[in-house]
C-alpha cells in the first residue's frame, strides 16, 4: 500500500487515465458519426481546433482528476458536491488492487505507443540528417539537392532548412522560385515541422484511422496557412495556384518515372485540390467558437469526474460483494 503524497498522485493519475480513455472513446465515436467537422473552419481555426481535440483527453483528464481529488479532500467534505463525487481513499493506493493493475497496464501501453512514435521520429531525423549532408547551399538561404526528382520541402526539428532539388530549380521561373521559397520559409517561421511532430505524438493515442485523418487535416491546414503567407507578400493568388499545380505535375511525373508511388487511401479531398480551392476562395471559413468549446470541455470534465467516481464505486462494491 502506497500512502501519502505518492498515493495521492497515483490516485489522481488513475482518474486522469480513466477520463482520457473515456474522452478518446467519445471523440472517436463523434468522429465516426461525423459530428466533428473541421472543413467549415478557416486554416488557422482548424489548427487550433485540432490541437484542442488531441489535447482534450489529457486536459479533461487533469480537470476531472482535480475535481474528484478536491471534493474528496477533508476540508471540503461538507460541500454539497462531495455527495456526488467522493474518492474515499485519496491518499492510499494499493498496487495489487484493480487501480494498480489498471494504472500499470495503461502506463505500459502509453509508454509503448510513445516509444514507437519516438523511434519513428528518430529514424526520420536520421534520414533528414543524411539528406542535409548531401545538400549544398543555394540562393536566398535554401539548400539544393542534386537529383532528377522535382521536390521542395522544409525539414528538420532543431534547425529546419528549406530544400529544393536541382531538377525543380531548372524548370521553374524566378517568380515561381520566390513563391516556393516564401511558402517554405513560412513553415520555418511557424515552426511547422516541430508542431507536426508534437501533434503526431499526441495523435498516437487515438485509433489509427482517426490519427491519420487528424494528421492529414493538420498538414493541409498548415499548407494553407503557408500559402496565405505567400499571398500576404503581395503575390497573385492565381500565380501561386499555378505554381502549386506545376510543381505537383513535375514532382509526380518524376516520382512515377523512378519509383512506385505508395498507394494511399485518402479520407477527404486531395491536399492540392483543397489548397487551390481554399486559396482562390473568398470565404476563408469560420473561427473556432472558443466559448462553446471551453464550456464543453468544462462540462465533459464534470461528466468524467462523475463517471470515474461511479466506475470506482461500482467496481469496489462488486469486488467487496464477490
Amino acid at each position: 500500500m502506497i500512502t501519502g503524497f505518492l498515493g495521492f498522485m497515483l490516485n489522481a493519475f488513475s482518474i486522469i487515465v480513466l477520463s482520457a480513455v473515456a474522452v478518446i472513446a467519445l471523440v472517436s465515436l463523434a468522429f465516426y458519426c461525423r459530428s466533428i467537422d473541421f472543413h467549415r473552419l478557416s486554416a488557422e481555426s482548424r489548427q487550433i481546433g485540432l490541437w484542442i481535440l488531441v489535447c482534450s483527453p489529457w486536459l479533461i483528464g487533469v480537470l476531472s482528476s482535480a475535481i474528484v481529488m478536491l471534493l474528496s479532500s477533508p476540508s471540503v467534505s461538507s460541500f454539497a458536491g462531495s455527495q456526488f463525487v467522493h474518492w474515499h481513499h485519496p491518499t492510499e493506493f494499493a498496487l495489487d488492487s484493480w487501480h494498480g493493475y489498471f494504472v500499470s497496464i495503461m502506463l505500459g501501453l502509453a509508454l509503448l505507443m510513445a516509444l514507437r512514435a519516438y523511434i519513428r521520429v528518430v529514424r526520420s531525423s536520421n534520414t533528414i540528417r543524411t539528406l542535409s549532408a548531401m545538400s549544398r547551399p543555394g540562393p536566398d538561404g535554401v539548400r539544393i539537392l542534386d537529383t532528377n526528382t522535382a521536390a521542395a520541402f522544409t525539414a528538420g526539428i532543431k534547425n529546419p532548412d528549406c530544400y529544393i532539388t536541382s531538377a525543380l530549380l531548372d524548370q521553374i521561373s524566378g517568380e515561381e522560385f520566390a513563391i516556393i521559397r516564401l511558402h517554405e520559409m513560412a513553415h520555418i517561421k511557424c515552426n511547422d515541422p516541430v508542431k507536426k511532430t508534437l501533434f503526431y505524438l499526441l495523435t498516437t493515442f487515438f485509433p489509427a484511422p482517426l490519427a491519420i485523418s487528424f494528421n492529414q487535416t493538420m498538414a493541409t491546414a498548415m499548407e494553407q496557412s503557408a500559402d496565405a503567407a505567400v499571398v500576404s507578400e503581395q503575390h497573385d493568388k492565381a500565380t501561386i495556384a499555378k505554381t502549386l499545380l506545376k510543381v505537383r505535375r513535375l514532382a509526380v511525373q518524376e516520382f512515377t518515372d523512378q519509383f512506385r508511388l505508395p498507394q494511399i487511401c485518402h479520407y477527404g479531398l486531395d491536399n492540392i485540390d483543397q489548397r487551390i480551392r481554399y486559396l482562390l476562395s473568398d470565404n476563408k471559413g469560420d473561427e473556432v467558437p472558443m466559448l462553446s468549446v471551453l464550456a464543453f470541455i468544462g462540462l465533459l470534465a464534470i461528466f468524467c469526474a462523475l463517471g470515474a467516481d461511479t466506475i470506482h464505486h461500482a467496481v469496489e462494491i462488486s469486488l467487496h460483494h464477490s
Binding site: R123, N126, I212, F255, I264, I272, D273
Partner: protein, 130 residues
C-alpha cells in the same frame, strides 16, 4: 536511413569510381584520414547490408560498387521523407511544398486549371468594371 560519417565518405567515394576492393578504399582514405583496413572492411560490409553497395567476389577479395547513382540515392531519400507519413507510417518532420503522394489524376488536374482560369477571368471582369 542511418549513415555514419565514414559511411557517407565511402559512399561518396564509390560515386567517383566504378568499383574497388577494401584495400583500394583503405589506401584512398588512409591518406586523407587514417584508419585501419578492418574499419574500412566493416564499413563496406555495413553499406552492402544496407543495400547501398553491390559486391562480387573476385579471387579472395570482394569488389564493391555503388548500388545506385548519387542522384538516385538522393531521390530515394526524398521519397522516404516526403511520403505521406500519416498513411505510410513515415515522416512528419517536414512540410513539403506539394505532397508526392497526391492522387489527383490528369482530369482532376485539368479541372483545377479551369478553376484557376475562371478565377483569373472573374478578377479581370471585376477589375475592368471598377
Amino acid at each position: 536511413m542511418i549513415l555514419g560519417e565514414l559511411e557517407k565518405l565511402v559512399l561518396n567515394y564509390f560515386w567517383t569510381v566504378s568499383s574497388a576492393d577494401a584495400k583500394q578504399v583503405h589506401e584512398y582514405f588512409s591518406k586523407q584520414r587514417g584508419g585501419s583496413l578492418n574499419t574500412i572492411q566493416t564499413t563496406l560490409d555495413r553499406l552492402f547490408k544496407k543495400g547501398l553497395l553491390n559486391r562480387i567476389k573476385i579471387g579472395h577479395a570482394f569488389h564493391y560498387s555503388a548500388a545506385s547513382s548519387r542522384k538516385a540515392f538522393i531521390s530515394q531519400l526524398i521519397l522516404t521523407v516526403t511520403q505521406d507519413f500519416v498513411s505510410s507510417d513515415e515522416d512528419n518532420l517536414l512540410a513539403a511544398f506539394v505532397s508526392v503522394s497526391s492522387e489527383l489524376d490528369d482530369q482532376q488536374l485539368s479541372e483545377l486549371e479551369s478553376t484557376i482560369r475562371e478565377y483569373e477571368t472573374r478578377n479581370l471582369v471585376q477589375g475592368s468594371k471598377s
